[in-house]
């Protein structure tokens, strides 16, 4: 052993600990000293041995392993892998963004409203024709085919028939409802 290569001073306690943490953190001189100085080597070895003992005893205190991990038969699919790979906030943000996009698109396009607007616009093209149609409806609310079955003019002029439909109280022998004479029940 070349004792002249050993610097006079031994490594401090802190340097020994530093050597245990990571030997390369010591300076070159200190590393050389640690390989040659029996006192420092003994101190480092003593601590190393005890730490190794910690590991060995910890290992021995664990029961033997019998089982093996059970993996699913199929390798996770793209969506499943994506879902487990992305960060949790992305997992929430992406579907939320999709919903937002769908709502926005629905609000902007509004197909129902567009059709309605188009219909009204079409009707407004010829207002005169619209007024003619309304007048026609006032005069003849029933379609042509039904008008032949019902004659409103005759019914209006027949007072007996109207009294039969809506009788006046004093003429109604079956009615017990108190009311002014000459007043219609309805």
């Amino acid at each position: 052993m070349n004792l002249t290569a050993i610097p006079n001073e031994h490594l401090t306690e802190a340097q020994i600990l530093q050597a245990i943490v990571d030997l390369s953190d010591l300076s070159d001189d200190q590393q050389v000293h640690l390989t040659a100085c029996p006192v420092c080597v003994a101190e480092k070895d003593r601590l190393d041995r005890m730490l190794l003992q910690v590991g060995n005893m910890a290992k021995a205190s664990v029961p033997s392993v019998v089982s093996r991990p059970v993996l699913p038969d199929r390798y996770p699919g793209f969506l499943q892998r994506w879902f487990s790979e992305v960060r949790p906030f992305v997992r929430i943000a992406v579907p939320a963004l999709l919903v937002l996009v769908i709502i926005t698109v629905a609000l902007v396009l509004k197909p129902g409203q567009d059709m309605h607007t188009a219909f009204v616009e079409e009707q407004m093209i010829d207002p005169e024709q619209l007024l003619i149609d309304i007048d026609r409806l006032i005069e003849n609310p029933l379609p042509q085919g039904l008008q032949s079955l019902v004659s409103f003019a005759e019914i209006d002029s027949d007072e007996d028939f109207m009294e039969y439909i809506v009788p006046v109280i004093e003429n109604d022998p079956l009615s017990n409802i108190p009311g002014k004479k000459g007043e219609n029940i309805c």
Partner: protein
């Protein structure tokens, strides 16, 4: 001669590392067999790591299964194949933290006696060992817990990962998502406390 032996060791370890990286890449590409090989290699390490922290065989087995399932599903997230071991331990560390959080929460609602000690003895009784070994293990657990209780959470995590789980500094850094210098600082502090703990050292020396 000595140098040749050392060189051989280095070559062997780098060949193993290369083999592992290849397996991780294959597993990432969807090869289930490659992942099963990786799982078989690390199952014991992960189980031990969880067992130290839960002291329950059943919980350790369940959590280990969860860790590998999570790793299998999330393998695509692993960017650096070299860090597979550290990444696997990170999943395990997080699962153990979740487990303790859940346990703490459930203890708020029901009073469960501390059955860790009994569970420990039960577990040991099932293995083939004498009463002396059981006693030594029990004492080791008591002494180590006493020592670890003097450390901060970070010091404890780093010390246990380094000396009980026997991880390298870079693997601990990956597992805890910290820089290597942070890991070293906490490990140094933990070692200072270890050096001052005469009782634990005497026990380890067998006195």
């Amino acid at each position: 001669m000595h140098k040749t032996k050392k060189e051989k060791e280095i070559n062997s370890s780098s060949a193993k590392a290369l083999q592992e990286v290849t397996r991780v890449k294959m597993a990432k590409a969807g090869n289930k067999e490659a992942f099963e090989q990786l799982a078989g290699h690390y199952y014991g390490d992960i189980f031990r790591m969880i067992y130290y922290r839960t002291q329950s065989r059943m919980d350790a087995e369940d959590l280990t299964q969860e860790v590998f399932l999570k790793a299998y599903k999330g393998l695509g997230r692993l960017t650096d194949e070299d860090h597979f071991k550290g990444w696997l331990f990170r999943i395990a560390v997080n699962r153990v933290r979740d487990f303790h959080r859940r346990k703490k929460f459930s203890h708020l609602f029901k009073s469960i006696p501390n059955d860790n000690e009994d569970a420990y003895v039960d577990t040991q009784a099932s293995t083939e060992e004498g009463p002396l070994e059981t006693l030594i293990r029990k004492r080791f657990r008591q002494e180590s817990e006493m020592f670890l209780s003097r450390l901060s959470r970070m010091e404890k995590d780093v010390f246990v990962l380094r000396f009980m789980d026997q991880l390298q500094i870079n693997e601990i850094a990956t597992a805890l998502k910290k820089s290597e210098s942070t890991v070293k600082t906490h490990l140094y502090r933990a070692l200072s406390k270890f050096k001052k703990d005469r009782a634990f050292q005497d026990f380890l020396k067998g006195e």
